[in-house]
């Protein structure tokens, strides 16, 4: 039967119960993370929680989308613009809203 402990990882160093633990890191282990140390016999493996990474990624994508919408809206409004981009811009806005909402639904 294996044992799971709460742990953190910074710069490839896993820490649990306030001591560094020599463990195989199953994620990248570069950025600071919280996760789980799995002990099974003399084997120790660290598994980071990836949801914070995903949440940050989604927030970045939403920011990019919103900035794109702002730029496109401005371009579409100028007199020399061919116009007619209202529907695609509206679609981008919908996608941005959906993407933003998805970060609250991470499993």
């Amino acid at each position: 039967m294996s044992k799971m402990l709460e742990a953190t990882c910074v710069g490839g160093v896993v820490t649990a119960d306030n001591v560094p633990v020599a463990a195989d890191i199953l994620s990248e282990g570069v950025s600071q993370s919280e996760g789980i140390l799995i002990l099974d016999g003399d084997t120790a493996k660290y598994l980071a929680k990836t949801s914070p990474d995903l949440k940050t990624l989604i927030e970045t994508m939403v920011t990019i989308l919103n900035q794109t919408i702002t730029i496109l809206t401005g371009l579409d409004a100028v007199t020399v613009s061919p116009g007619g981009q209202t529907a695609p811009i509206a679609l981008l806005t919908t996608m941005s809203t959906q993407l933003n909402a998805s970060k609250e639904l991470l499993k």
């Binding site: 044992k3 633990v21 020599a22 002990l39 003399d42």
Partner: protein, 146 residues
């Protein structure tokens, strides 16, 4: 009453009701129930894992390991010294023990302290013993040394 010493961890079990309480009353040892057996109260909270450098009961673990408490003891080379109530490295035990061979069992004077040195220079790590209320002696059916 049966006494098993697994890698310096103790398990007491009754073959008749009341043996444990009699033993406790006679010798004043602090023995408590744990899971489906009895053990010394100092071992009651023995973790089922150890992390190198982290506190493990009264000592510091030297290995990262997960398993039954006695397996963790073995992985860390520790034994329980019931005289001092401390978990100690097996190599640090300085007591000696004389184990006599009888027909089909072994005899020693009292309960063997795990890690004790035999006349052959080996250390007692595991044993299985029976305590008789009639003779007040321990009879050892198995003694393993390292």
């Amino acid at each position: 009453m049966r006494v098993k010493c697994f890698h310096g961890y103790f398990i007491f079990s009754e073959t008749k009701v009341g043996q444990i309480s009699d033993f406790i009353a006679r010798y004043g040892l602090d023995i408590v129930a744990k899971d489906d057996y009895y053990t010394f109260s100092d071992l009651e909270d023995a973790p089922d894992y150890s992390l190198t450098g982290a506190t493990f009961l009264s000592t510091v673990a030297v290995e990262t390991f997960e398993g039954k408490p006695w397996e963790v003891f073995e992985a860390n080379g520790m034994v329980y010294n019931f005289s001092t109530g401390l978990i100690v490295p097996i190599d640090s035990v300085i007591e000696t023990v004389q184990i006599l061979t009888s027909k089909n069992h072994f005899i020693a004077n009292g309960l063997i302290l795990p890690g004790s040195l035999t006349a052959e220079g080996l250390r007692v790590r595991d044993y299985s013993a029976w305590f008789s209320r009639d003779t007040l002696r321990f009879t050892y059916s198995e003694v393993n040394c390292v």
